[in-house]
């Protein structure tokens, strides 16, 4: 080692390293050209915490693929994520999509959290013939408008009611009968979207709705609503409420000694805050797109890898979707043996993932129909002894549903 810290051998090595790209023939470099995937996530603005969380899952997928030797059919090409902050704004999402396509020349795109930021990005991607893998937006129209380059790992919003009806049918087959439904939903856009879905689906599936209560987020006293739900004669309650409201409602129901089958909606119910309510929340159900205890080897491996990369953190459903979205694009490029946008798009239409590290989501197969929609499904989890446990569908359940107390 010389005084400057670099000896002659190191200098030679450095020189060789610098000269190497010029020596290697250009087609040799092209063979290991990285697969550039544009990642649209909100890392600032109102959805920043969700975006930062999802980014970790996108990065984990890229890391696992690269650590395993990259894309085999492309000579071990690495997956390179070109991450951009869409600031939780539709217009930024649109502009950044345009930039990633025309300036960064990405082969494919993924993102972009909420429906309002995903729709403009997907439209631009489709117009520019660039594959776009939607991670978590559930707006029905996204895969109903005939866009040829748009694909989705997530479910459609209008399918949620169907999942609940399927679950209630399953319960009936096990001798637990639920005949009549009561709804309690918050009055914001999310609550009302879920409400209109339930009201349009449930009666047609043989579950008449006896009462339909809407409440304001942050309502301090749910005793009146609890009384209405109890006296309606319903034996099943479907809700969509933020965690704090869910807790207060569950306490109000418990105070009246009314313990029907209770199904909360999404991450707002499947939440530590709701579990912290103790006995009132015990044995309640929640419908979510993925759960970390899902009985599937790839899912458990994903949770383990995530915990190793981010100690103390347990991934949420949208992170599983982000992980799968990145993986699916890489697998499509690998199958296409190309980083060309059209080749990846064509490979996505024939992709069929049933096992391997990308088989994380609860549906048995990850594939895409002619509209780009995957046959995604939800899972039902139940609060049992202080934690949420997957209880349906049977194929991925950790255990059967526990009887509802009361």
């Amino acid at each position: 080692m010389t005084k400057s810290g670099i000896d002659r051998r190191q200098t030679l090595l450095m020189g060789a390293a610098i000269a190497m790209p010029a020596i290697i023939p250009s087609h040799g470099r092209a063979a290991t050209e990285a697969l550039k995937i544009g990642v649209l996530v909100p890392t600032t603005g109102v959805h920043a915490s969700d975006g930062i969380r999802m980014l970790k899952a996108h990065q984990l997928a890229a890391k696992l693929i690269n650590d395993a030797g990259g894309l085999k059919s492309l000579g071990g090409a690495k997956v390179e994520l070109v991450v951009t902050d869409i600031q939780s704004k539709p217009e930024v999402s649109r502009a950044e999509t345009e930039r990633l396509i025309s300036r960064e020349r990405v082969s494919a795109l993924t993102g972009a959290w909420a429906s309002a930021t995903t729709i403009p990005a997907a439209q631009i991607a489709d117009r520019n013939r660039t594959p776009f893998m939607i991670t978590s937006a559930v707006n029905d129209a996204l895969t109903e408008q005939g866009m040829k380059y748009v694909f989705r790992t997530a479910v459609k919003a209008k399918w949620f009611g169907g999942y609940i009806a399927d679950f209630l049918d399953y319960q009936k087959s096990k001798g637990i009968s639920v005949g009549k439904i009561a709804l309690a939903t918050e009055d914001g856009p999310a609550g009302q979207a879920v409400r209109s879905n339930y009201t349009s689906v449930m009666p047609g599936r043989g579950f008449p709705i006896l009462t339909d209560e809407t409440f304001r987020t942050g309502t301090p006293d749910f005793s009146t609503i609890a009384t209405k739900l109890r006296t309606s004669g319903a034996d099943g309650i479907l809700t969509c409420a933020y965690a704090e409201d869910s807790t207060v409602l569950l306490r109000a129901l418990a105070a009246q000694n009314f313990r029907p089958l209770y199904v909360g909606f999404g991450g707002a119910h499947v939440n530590q805050t709701v579990l912290a309510a103790g006995k009132p929340s015990d044995r309640t159900f929640g419908v979510v797109e993925w759960s970390p205890d899902l009985n599937k080897p790839a899912s458990l491996a994903f949770v383990k890898a995530f915990a190793e990369a981010h100690p103390g953190e347990t991934p949420l459903s949208n992170q599983a979707q982000a992980f799968v979205a990145t993986y699916a694009l890489a697998l499509a490029a690998d199958a296409a043996k190309s980083t060309d946008r059209n080749a990846i798009r064509d490979a996505l239409t024939t992709l069929k993932i049933t096992d391997g590290p990308a088989a994380v989501l609860p549906a048995p197969v990850l594939s895409f129909d002619e509209q780009g929609q995957s046959p995604a499904t939800c899972v039902i989890v139940q609060a049992i002894d202080g934690k949420f446990v997957t209880v349906w569908p049977e194929a991925v359940a950790v255990r059967p549903p526990a009887p509802v107390q009361g």
């Binding site: 539709p90 117009r127 009302q192």
Partner: protein, 336 residues
Amino acid sequence: MLRRFLPALVPTLLAILGFGFSLTDPYFMEIFIMVGLIGTVAVAWNLMAGFTGLVSLGHSLFFGIGAYTVAYGQVGFGLGPLATWPIAVLLAVASALFIGLLCFRYGLRGYFFSIATLAFSEVAFLLVSAALWLGRSDGMMLPSSSETLRYLQFDHKWPYGLIIVAFLALTLFLSQAFLTARPGYYWRALRDNEGAAEALGVPAMRYKLLVFALSAALTALGGAIFANTFAFVDPRSTLGVELSIQLLVFGIIGGLGLLWGPLLGAALLIPAGELLRTYLGSSFHGVNIVAYALLMIVLALVLPQGLGGVLSARLRRILPGKRDAAGEALVMETTS
């Protein structure tokens, strides 16, 4: 005639140059479209704020009316821009007259007028965010159609850029026509001293309603073009308070007393925001937003009369002996 319309002609020619340059890259065209569209709407907003002293914080309402009329017209009734754009303008004018009559009848001025307009736009934002038939907070996608011209759906961006150049030219020339005629002088008189202007016989109510209706009509047209250009509308982008604040910021940074001031503000700040996001956005979360905010603070401190104000002062110094010639017409300093 040429001298009269010079403040409209020069920015239009510059916009045509900008359009030509943007043809080289779709990303540049995206930025050009945003600058042209929001900048032009800011010019329409400034007719009220800069020239009449009516600072509206609720102009997103009219933009949203334009955008949602186009979206709902196409999704619900299959109508194209030939039908939806005039309806959008009429709806916006009706809304402006209603709000204006209420505000001016009860003598709301200054901050009170601003807050009243903000309240109306916020109510619209909340209503649309909860309206199922308008797609709630998810927004509405305009269905794609093979009838390119009927629904203004092009595969490339440049036709939208061309439409925006036309919209910009229309707004600038129409505004300049008003500003250099009786209404323009009355508006400035009302801005400087409403009581004195009324005492001299200026019918305040009528002329304030006129500027409100004109500004709302042009803003709604901007919203309608936005919907056709991006084939997607949502409450946040089209009815949110952020859009109204953007108009205010572009006006202040560009120069409130100039016809083309807000356009200059948009032409400076929108590309600056894009550049900062491109080069700083991926380094630390939010650092580009901090840099953007610092840029605005510095500009506001260094150039209190706006960038356009400084430019116009420079022009006047360059052309000292020609105060009533071309230079004066271009400068058109109106801030007394």
